[in-house]
């Protein structure tokens, strides 16, 4: 999987700083440790020179042993004076065999060695012709300093790498913030909120992008509005002639008995189609308005009471109602239920149960019918506008506008809910509207 941009920026910041600080730390280590070692060697050599001169003067004197002991500088240091007459040592016990042969045979010289696991600096000097003076200086102190120095340098390197990563993360977050906003706004537009815009940017790099995005969104919004307005205008213009037609039709229908035979049948066809036409125009207008009108402030609605009220005006339907209060626009909810009931009547011989149930944080309004059910493949499609074709078999005398379920979906979305259709266990279908529950105490 490819890493995200943020991840990559963070990693490269961290890695970059790690490389830079390791190089610096390595250089520091080399310079500092070399310098300290040289200092130590120089001071050891100086001391050995001084000691050699003292030893030379008193090589044959009787207090030679004491002198050597006095010359040792600490518990770790040792002095060996090897001459053909014998070996004299002082300080820490060291065998000449432990010393490097080259150093003993060809003084003067110095070498770092390890004796009994301890780091030492051996300095050899020739004394009075054929004797060799070897002094060993303990290096533990220096090694401890080196250990401390390296610990500090390593910790510093790791710390700066982490700091680099944090910096990278912060910087990328800052740099990507406009992208996050863009993503958010694009998501809102995709979700149907055409008012979404990006905030103005003062950064010249981003201003162009933001302006472009906003103008695109603006164009999209205007286009959507134009389309909606066109549908609205068309149905609006159709209303006046329809009013004439519907009422003239009503007058004619009253005189149906004066028109026997073919003329009467034609009249019936005409008037029923005019009625359907009128319904379609009303629904079309409503659907084109659904995106435009500003809703009144949402109010609390007792869903169970609303169902009872709607059903009271229609043919009786069994109900199973739990108390549930939702937030929304009464008119929309009312329309949703009415359309679902109309749909059940039209295609499934009427609803057999209307229920309101609560589950967790949601309220579910369900309209059940015992009709033929909706095939799986059409369950999305029937909520499309003019999707009547998909239910071809059910075109009867009283077909709807083809917009009823589309209106249901529009209204439910506006109410912040979901609507779907599922199989009813005992055959038929169940249309479910799910909304956020305000409270269940009715």
């Amino acid at each position: 999987m490819r890493l995200t941009l943020r991840c990559r920026v963070t990693l490269s910041f961290g890695f970059g700083l790690l490389v830079v600080t390791s190089v610096l730390a390595f250089a520091t280590w080399n310079l500092a440790s070399g310098y300290m070692l040289r200092q130590r060697e120089a001071s050891a050599t100086r001391q050995a020179e001084v000691n050699v001169r003292l030893v030379e003067r008193s090589l044959a004197s009787p207090g030679f042993d004491e002198l050597l002991t006095g010359l040792t500088t600490g518990p770790d240091s040792s002095i060996l004076v090897m001459s053909p007459e014998g070996l004299v040592t002082a300080g820490r016990k060291v065998e000449p065999s432990q010393l490097p042969a080259g150093l003993v045979e060809h003084p003067p010289g110095k070498e770092r060695i390890t004796v009994d696991g301890l780091p030492m600096l051996a300095v050899a000097r020739p004394v009075a012709g054929n004797a060799v003076y070897v002094e060993l200086f303990g290096l533990q102190q220096l090694n401890r300093t080196f250990a401390f120095l390296s610990a500090v340098l390593i910790a510093g390197t790791i710390g700066s790498a982490l700091l680099g990563a944090a910096l990278g993360s912060w910087a990328s977050k800052r740099a990507l913030k406009p992208l996050t906003e863009l993503n958010c706004a694009a998501g809102r537009i995709a979700g149907g909120d055409l008012h979404a815009r990006l905030p103005d940017q003062d950064d010249p790099d981003l201003a162009a992008l933001a302006a472009k995005f906003n103008s695109t969104a603006q164009a999209l919004e205007q286009r959507a509005l134009r389309d909606a307005r066109f549908a609205s205008d068309v149905s609006h213009e159709l209303r006046s002639p329809l009013t004439t037609m519907v009422n003239a039709g009503a007058v004619l229908r009253r005189r149906r008995e004066h028109l026997p035979g073919t003329a009467g049948t034609a009249l019936e066809l005409l008037t029923s189609e005019v009625d359907r036409f009128a319904r379609m125009v009303v629904d079309l207008l409503e659907i084109s308005r659904a995106d435009q009108t500003d809703d009144p402030a949402p109010e609390e609605i007792a869903l169970d009471a609303l169902v009872r009220n709607v059903i009271a005006t229609r043919a009786p339907v069994p109900v199973a109602l739990e108390p549930a209060v939702v937030q929304g626009d009464r008119r929309r909810l009312d329309r949703v239920l009415t359309n679902l009931l109309d749909n059940a009547e039209r295609h499934a011989g009427g609803a057999v149960l209307v229920s309101v149930r609560t589950a967790g944080t949601s309220a579910r309004l369900a309209v059940e019918d015992a009709g033929p059910g909706v095939p799986e493949a059409l369950r999305e499609e029937i909520f499309e506008r003019f999707a009547r074709g998909v239910m071809a078999g059910s075109r009867g005398d009283d077909t709807g506008s083809g917009l009823g379920l589309a209106l249901v979906r529009d209204h439910v979305h506006r109410l912040g809910g979901r609507v779907w259709v599922e199989d009813r266990e005992a055959g038929g279908s169940r249309f479910v509207v799910e909304m956020v529950l305000r409270s269940s105490d009715g």
């Binding site: 609006h236 209303r239 006046s240 002639p241 329809l242 009013t243 004439t244 037609m245 519907v246 009422n247 003239a248 009503a250 007058v251 009253r254 009128a278 125009v281 009303v282 207008l285 409503e286 308005r289 009108t293 500003d294 009144p296 109010e299 609390e300 609605i301 007792a302 009471a305 009220n309 709607v310 005006t313 209060v325 009464r330 008119r331 009312d334 329309r335 009415t338």
Partner: protein, 223 residues
């Protein structure tokens, strides 16, 4: 009883068709093509109900409604082709008692007209609520001894609320009883009328003491 309806509509075809269909429903329909034509006729003739299209040439439908309302409580139904909230509310605020949207059907319109004209049932005692005195038989309302002019719809709304003597009356009940809506839904109609009623009978309409809102349910009167 023969109900006389004055139909103010500029589209001649609609006017004719509606006129025919309403006559079929048993009304006597007089037609006027504009507000300028309708208003003088009201001086000389008496009508039971007015139907006013909101989009009229010349004098706007809203102006016609306002002019009518300032003269008396003749029931007015506005006819609108636009169902935008703004138009409907403007019409109701101007003083209309009800509204219908195009394409309107004569059957629906007839039901509305009958509901508007329906008289109250016989004999009821005068009701007192605070400073308010309602005399149902005479159709009079007094506040602190002073007559308050209510339209017929406002009066019936007040009576329905007073009749419940303090109990909650739901929006649906009010819409059903006052306007004859068997299909509830548009509570804007009710809201605007409650607002108008409050303006007339409350000391402070923004802080009502008589007609109280019961959130999410309806209204009740202070008992």
């Amino acid at each position: 009883m023969c109900v006389r309806v004055l139909l103010v509509e500029d589209d001649e075809r609609i006017r004719q068709a509606l006129s025919l269909a309403l006559s079929d429903e048993g009304f006597t329909v007089d037609e006027a093509g504009s507000g300028e034509e309708a208003l003088p006729r009201l001086e000389t003739e008496s009508f039971d109900v007015m139907l006013v299209d909101l989009t009229l040439p010349g004098m706007d439908g809203l102006e016609v409604v306002r002019a009518l309302r300032s003269r008396g409580d003749l029931p007015i139904i506005v006819v609108t082709a636009r169902t935008d909230a703004r138009d409907v509310i403007a019409g109701l605020e101007a003083g209309a008692d009800d509204y219908v949207t195009k394409p309107l059907m004569a059957g629906v319109l007839a039901a509305r007209i009958r509901a508007l004209l329906r008289r109250r049932g016989p004999g009821r005692e005068a009701v007192r609520i605070g400073e308010l005195e309602i005399r149902p038989q005479e159709g009079l309302v007094h506040r602190a001894g002073e007559r308050v002019h209510l339209t017929r719809t406002e009066f019936r709304l007040l009576l329905e609320l007073a009749g419940a003597s303090g109990r909650i009356v739901t929006r649906e009940q009010l819409l059903q009883k006052v306007w004859g809506y068997d299909y509830f839904g548009d509570t804007r109609l009710l809201d605007v009328h409650i607002r108008r009623l409050r303006r007339k009978i409350e000391a402070n309409p923004d802080d009502p003491e008589l007609v109280l809102t019961v959130r999410g349910t309806g209204y009740r009167i202070r008992s």
